[in-house]
């Protein structure tokens, strides 16, 4: 990419208060960037720091959370902005869609209210103009009979429809970046495909940048241009979708892809990953992945590898790098 990216996170470290008075580091030294109109997939197991990285873009850390590093967006560093200014960026320039559409909508507010409250807050427009815009958005996300849908409440819609409404809410103020946190995980498979198609179309129609957070490599490969893999709070591999998904170079990415069901003749082959992800309070020394890694060597116990470029547009955090030329 030659032009400056829309968002660039540089050396982001997030700390949270731990139970014993110490501090935990769910995200350590993470850098990633998202270009205009680009869909970047952020993948990893639960607890790898994906969601908290996304929340940091909105300045919405859990109580007691602290950040260091830089988040450059629109010519400013979000980490140095006062809380009020970040609140203005939230929902207006950067919007978010959450995992479970059954709980992410307010059960007692009409769809109209939920679609327009932030629109009216950020833009100061009147109820009528906001309603016109709300109808436009419901049509954009393919909700039938948009004018009537405005008067209804979330419980009157199915899960897939609710997720479309949540996307419409996120798009209300024409944000430049949409963060989609596991947007299809809580939905039926058939409905998932519809939401993925919708996100793809919206990127085309609106030139939207999307940070897609998922642990589902299938969703990842359907949608993203570039992929960032996180493990235990750090980025372990980044690259284009085809490179990473077809020729993973980090052993963790390799296992993650191996844990997907493959078609292999008539059988579905599943290779579950060994072990469990480490807790952020008790990381193993050296490379945090070494206890689960098939290629681990003695030095992996001592050195925590940094992310380094191995090809143009490709970086991994592994000192062994055993997978050159090995397909997924």
């Amino acid at each position: 990419m030659s032009e400056a990216p829309l968002v660039s996170i540089e050396n982001l470290t997030i700390s949270l208060p731990g139970n014993d008075g110490g501090r935990l580091f769910p995200v350590r030294d993470v850098s990633l960037s998202i270009g205009a109109g680009e869909i970047v997939g952020l993948a990893g197991e639960s607890g790898s720091g994906k969601t908290i990285t996304a929340l940091s873009l909105l300045g919405l850390l859990p109580p007691g959370g602290r950040m260091s590093g830089h988040i450059r967006f629109g010519g400013q560093d979000l980490l140095t902005l006062p809380p009020r200014a970040i609140a203005d960026v939230r929902g207006r320039d950067i919007a978010m869609v959450f995992q479970d559409p059954m709980t992410a909508l307010h059960p007692m507010l009409s769809i109209e209210k939920q679609l327009t409250e932030h629109l009216r807050h950020h833009r100061g427009i009147d109820a009528r103009a906001a309603r016109t815009r709300a109808i436009e958005l419901l049509e954009l996300v393919r909700i039938p009979d948009a004018a009537r849908a405005l008067k209804r409440y979330p419980h009157q819609f199915s899960g897939g429809m609710r997720q479309r409404i949540a996307i419409a809410i996120a798009l209300c103020c024409e944000p430049q970046l949409l963060i989609a946190d596991e947007p299809t995980t809580a939905l039926d498979v058939t409905v998932q495909a519809g939401i993925l198609r919708l996100l793809q179309q919206l990127r085309g129609e609106l030139g939207l940048s999307v940070l897609l957070i998922t642990h589902d490599m299938g969703v990842m490969s359907a949608l993203s241009d570039r992929v960032v893999i996180m493990y235990a709070g750090r980025v372990v591999e980044t690259g284009t979708r085809t490179d990473v998904l077809q020729h993973p170079r980090h052993p963790y990415t390799h296992s993650l892809l191996g844990a997907l069901p493959h078609e292999h003749g008539d059988d579905m082959l599943l290779q579950p990953m060994r072990g469990t992800p480490p807790s952020i309070g008790a990381l193993p020394p050296g490379c945090p992945f070494h206890p689960r890694c098939d290629w681990a060597e003695a030095r992996c116990r001592d050195i925590e590898p940094g992310l380094h470029a191995v090809e143009p547009n490709r970086a991994i955090a592994c000192v062994v790098d055993p997978l050159v030329g090995v397909p997924a």
Partner: protein, 351 residues
Amino acid sequence: MQQPIKRAWYALPSLVRFILRRLAIGVLLCVGVTLVSFTLTQIVPGDPVAASLGDQASSDPETVAAFRQRFGLDKPLPEQYLIYVTNLAQGNFGESLQTRRPVADDLAKYMSATIELSLVAMTFAMLAGVALGIIAAVNRDRWPDQVIRVISLAGVSVPTFWLSLVCLYVFFFQLGWSPGVGRLSPGAAAPMNLTGLYTVDALLTGNWKTLGSALAHLALPAMVLAIYTIGAITRFTRAAMLDAFQQDYVRAARAKGMPERTVVMRHVLRPALASIITVSGMAFGRMLGGAVLVESVFSWPGLGEYAYRSALALDLRAIMGVSLVIAAVYILVNLLVDILYAIVDPRIRLS
């Protein structure tokens, strides 16, 4: 049900049907209450005749027989009950053994005093309880929360009668801030009887001096009566809000960039409101119970006072009248709670 009636019934809006159905059930409940209170007044040891007539008159068999006949106490119990219920259906609550006046008149008079007291106390309790609950929840585990938690715990723990006595002693005898007991200062004339609520009547007739006096007399007993309810509503509001703060849609509202004020009021308080309303309904029931104690300490001529005196005098009709009125208030408050619930929560309204 006949076809046309059935059709007319289903033509009504669902909320109206709901209210009518609940009212019908309420009437049945009231009939049940009369049966229970009638039975209970028969079971309690003690002779209403002796209690009414005094030692000397009740030792004369003829006087006793005349008294029994006058009040229908000589008839068999089932017949007494039937007569009572038949009269009741015509709005006749019977005659008080004690005041010798129709119980309906007594109830109307004492009821209005209690309604005035408990309405003011309830309004105050809801405003203060919800406000304190919000402050505590927003400042969770910080000092305002700690202070409010102690206050609300004290509120639900302190016995009402004890608090009444202490407050009367401190604010009336010691500090002189309160004008004392009763509904008005001695010598002040009651305002023209429109609603029976002195403050409202004084306001409507432009009688400012009486209004001032009525308000001054109302303040302390209402405050004392409200204390428990404030504690209960505060604790409940805090818990319901903390629960609502965990919801995904609150995080979603913050992600939309809504100001924290709006998030708290619209996205946290609103969902918590439904359960706060339910608890307030129950607290109101308990408040009517507490009113008996507060009224007797503050010589407030209300239903509690009346019930207390009637019970001492074994005044059967009056006791049954009071039970019936309180049961009816309970039923109406619960109906109101359910209606408010439906207004607040579209999931109930629209299903």
